[in-house]
Symmetry: C2
Subunit: 284 residues, 2 copies
């Protein structure tokens, strides 16, 4: 069985031992249809700036420069911002929604390797001098975001040290988390990984409920849908979550955090260490 998400297709689960599979070609090449609002008045945008922490942490003048180049867009659920290897046209600073980075294998396998909410940005690797993204970027939770053409972003970074530093640190944190997630995938059972994933989503959604089908979760974690169903059922039985046709609600945050593998907490530590270091640095 295969699923379609706004035009792109993926295998339900994947072969651990099947060798090849030819699918995952984007029929109709995932229409990327932004609901582009007209440019807001500066005040309205300014209001939002504090809500992407990457931007918020910039010195005022620099922040103003960044904002001038941004427009606000509404990210659509399951919209694909960029396919792996494709030229990235815009970088995104999520405000409400969040985005997942998904590594795609030739044989149709896929695995989430990063998750980007208002604490970060999509396309940070542009500062490395490339204009492609290594992974597929899928919107996981709809909502507002700021965006900027990658050319503008590169120009701004070239001129602005504070911005470049900040983005660099974020990139480092992303890499560290990527490694962490890789190890986690190999070592921890589906249930623990599911919990980690729910907690990370919660942190980025800033609320205790979000819309996610088992099928989608399975795709993200690289397991069968049934595996998710089993794990989710167990969590529900323990009173940690409830869900109903894709609407998941977290009931017991503390309990969930206990049920998760260390990787959740560790991921947060990694981020704090990297980004906090920047504070120490700029305070010097």
């Amino acid at each position: 069985m295969r699923l379609r998400f706004n035009g792109w297709v993926y295998g339900s689960a994947h072969p651990r031992r099947v060798d090849k599979r030819t699918l995952c070609s984007n029929e109709a090449t995932g229409q990327i249809h932004h609901v582009r609002r007209e440019q807001r008045d500066p005040l309205s945008i300014e209001k939002h700036t504090a809500e992407n922490s990457l931007i918020a942490a910039l010195p005022p003048r620099c922040r103003a420069n960044v904002l001038r180049s941004c427009e606000q867009v509404e990210l659509q659920l399951e919209e694909v911002l960029c396919e792996p290897g494709q030229r990235i046209r815009h970088v995104y600073f999520p405000i409400e929604g969040f985005v997942s980075l998904v590594a795609v294998l030739d044989d149709g396998g896929a695995l989430e390797v990063g998750i980007i909410g208002r604490e970060g940005m999509v396309g940070a690797s542009v500062i490395l001098g490339v204009d492609t993204l290594a992974d597929r970027a899928v919107v996981q939770c709809a909502g507002a975001a700021l965006r900027m053409s990658s050319a503008s972003f590169r120009r701004l970074c070239a001129r602005n040290m504070a911005l470049r530093m900040r983005v660099g640190l974020y990139l480092y944190a992303s890499m560290a988390q990527l490694a962490q997630v890789a190890a986690c995938t190999g070592y921890h059972v589906v249930e623990a990984r599911l919990v980690r994933w729910l907690l990370m989503s919660r942190d980025r959604a800033h609320k205790n409920e979000f819309h996610l089908t088992h099928e989608f979760l399975a795709y993200m974690l690289g397991v069968r849908r049934v595996g998710i169903t089993e794990a989710a059922t167990a969590l529900q039985a323990r009173g940690l979550i409830t869900y109903n046709r894709g609407d998941i609600t977290i009931l017991d945050n503390a309990g969930l955090e206990k049920a998760s593998c260390d990787c959740y907490e560790r991921g947060n530590l990694i981020y704090d260490a990297a980004m906090g270091l920047s504070c120490a640095r700029s305070a010097r």
Copy 2:
């Protein structure tokens, strides 16, 4: 059972379902003992420059600058260049040997997430403004390398656009490969992953034999030693490799490449695409 590598300890395999494990504290804190040769005369170093492709690709003046700041060291087998989170004091440009990056989990699990030979460098993330490494860097194959203090490296990068660009691209390639490996770990059977690993090592060792015990391989791939033994036995039975007490010899390169998962080839493509892009760029 636990192993000791030059002073640091790791769990033999690891728990897929065990939740915690307290080990992996480095007893005796992995003595890092470089066999530091006295500074060679410039000609001798110059001779080697072409052998690290990152350096070799730099414009002549820039290359000379880099070399002036480098000293040559001999990497010892299983030496730990840097522990995760530790301050990185030197960056390394391997010439003969190669180095693995290993993600370490709290519960003792570990997984190789990158491999660095003469095509790259250890510590590229320094250009992002951090002075720590996210993963453990272990020497996998002894041999010569150039090294430079990370402070010098940062200074050079700040001044030198070509160097910064080149290292940036390399960093991007590393990230892309990391994501690739993460997915591979989740989807492919041990044997295929082992083969991928052997091929990658071969490419970096520039020869068809190297010294690696099953135990070490198991550690790298995050599986039990027995898993490696079984896979290796099968490969040997098929006439693709032979091995004897840690000395592995590749007999049939073509056969091995067929036995590997696509991730091997794909990793190479990723690297070429990223680094080749730089050529196009500088040719402009």
